[in-house]
Assembly symmetry: C2
């Protein structure tokens, strides 16, 4: 086994890259721009060039590198084939074969949310777990499911798409996915703002949230108000927690995790989130699955590079 491993997290604007030792210590971290033009044809060559330059700079030979792991936004199967990644301009092709051909080393690839979950299991909030669910409450709601220490990829790389669990029949606004009533419409950062806007419009109840223009309200301002004891904000958090707690209870019945690791921008509110999620989780979950714990993600934006590196070492 080599001494080093690279972890690569491809985003729509930047590619995050990390050099790790095989114990998972991050030795170096850097970024390059994501060039999405012409079907994203430059993305993998740019990554290969950057890795090769890094190895030259540090006098690391190929024999010393275990391989390169990569996470990208899109359905990617266990063999490393991506089935279209809209944000990158990519169609269907084998990431593993293409990048491996460019760098001359073993390459593994996976969906970015799944890979980030693996990172949190390896070195983050899920350390020591073999069965966990990572939930990312960002612009959308992403998920990654770890079963027996490995990513649940599913039949076509769409395992863990928990943001699109249908949770509300009476929704008229359309989710980014084209459906209505997805968990993401209530539990993402934009979802919390949606709930806040509706709650503010539904009554004249006083709230610190009325002190700023409605278009300035964010998930952060809602949870800041919750911490100040603002009654209306507490109601908004209650709705958020009911949708998310019931959603996670369903997930628990399906995959029976030890732990939910909650990350993404909304999670910056901290453990106060759990006060709103847990009651609904506990009320609706099957008893045999009720011992699942909740923890905050700890790796932030680095979860992707950690998980990508771990992908190679599995």
């Amino acid at each position: 086994m080599g001494r080093y491993v690279f972890g690569v997290d491809v985003g729509g604007t930047t590619v995050k890259m990390g050099l790790f030792d095989v114990e998972g210590n991050l030795l170096d971290k850097w970024e390059i721009p994501t060039r999405t033009e012409n079907g994203g044809e430059k993305i993998l060559p740019d990554i290969a060039e950057s890795i090769t330059a890094k190895m030259a700079g540090k006098k690391i030979s190929k024999e010393e590198v275990e391989g390169v792991g990569l996470g990208a936004p899109g359905p990617i199967d266990a063999a490393g084939t991506v089935y279209g990644a809209v944000n990158l301009g990519w169609g269907t092709f084998s990431i593993s074969d293409t990048l491996s051909g460019l760098v001359g080393m073993k390459v593994k690839a996976g969906n970015d949310a799944n890979v980030a979950a693996l990172g949190e299991m390896w070195k983050g909030g899920g350390r020591g777990c073999r069965n966990m669910v990572a939930v990312t409450l960002g612009t959308g709601v992403g998920g990654g499911i770890i079963v027996n220490g490995g990513i649940l990829t599913g039949a076509c790389g769409a395992g863990g798409e928990i943001g699109h669990i249908h949770v509300e029949d009476n929704e008229t606004e359309v989710c980014g996915c084209g459906n209505t009533g997805c968990l993401e419409e209530y539990a993402s950062a934009t979802g919390v703002v949606r709930l806040a806007r509706r709650m503010l419009q539904a009554s004249d109840e006083p709230s610190v949230l009325r002190e700023k223009p409605e278009d300035r309200i964010s998930a952060k301002s809602v949870f800041d108000a919750v911490k100040e004891g603002d009654a209306l904000a507490v109601k908004i958090a209650g709705q958020f927690g009911e949708y998310l707690g019931k959603g996670l209870a369903v997930i628990a019945c399906v995959v029976n995790p030890e732990l939910f690791v909650i990350g993404g921008g909304v999670s910056k509110a901290g453990e106060v989130l759990f006060d709103y999620i847990r009651p609904h989780f506990e009320r609706t979950v099957f008893k045999g699955c009720k011992d699942a714990k909740f923890a905050l993600a700890t790796l932030g934006n680095d979860a992707g590079i950690y998980g990508a590196a771990k992908l190679v070492l599995e």
Copy 2:
């Protein structure tokens, strides 16, 4: 590798047993009673004795047997430890170690619903699949989830407990698990009868279902009436299909299966079930998971012994 493998399916009244060759051909099948008295202490010795007698009768040596697989009703982890099985009188102990000590051969054990799912994947309605969900619509609703060809056991053997997904907030009748609004309350055989009873009481709409006493209505009579075009029965099937279709859509977002295999008593109605499940599935499922197919289980009560045998061969 040996030439033979035993599959054992422990039920509350009988233990089903099968002798297979390692290609999965069922060579012999028999049953013994399940003696649940005294904490079910005789169950494994009875099984061991029956296997030993069968081997003697057929002049099969231990060297020719790959091992014994066993499915039982209760949470059983990947190492073969059961955490209490109420119907059998069992507490917590290692089935694998105990039975292996009695028969002198390798033993693997798993939850009966999960093991039956493995059987359907190996030789039944899910043949050729690596990612599937088996749904058993019987007295309750059971589930077994296959990921990459193996059982999703979960943290404590409660993976695939899909009957207890919370699907209805406005339910007052309590499920067997102690919660209210579980999928099982609407999609099991007794669940279909519950929906029928409520629908019949809610109006005076004529229906062939009114021709027999209410306590004689069964899931079978409801779906027989559906096939005759009875409008009220069609509405009942519609409610059943909405609960189940939406529930399976959620499961698809979590584990992204290729296939749902539907078994159990209710599934005897045949593919007409899919006409009621599919529209709600397709309406609410994430697009990336929408290609999941539906098939009927084909092994019936033998799914458990097939899956138990396969457990040994994994």
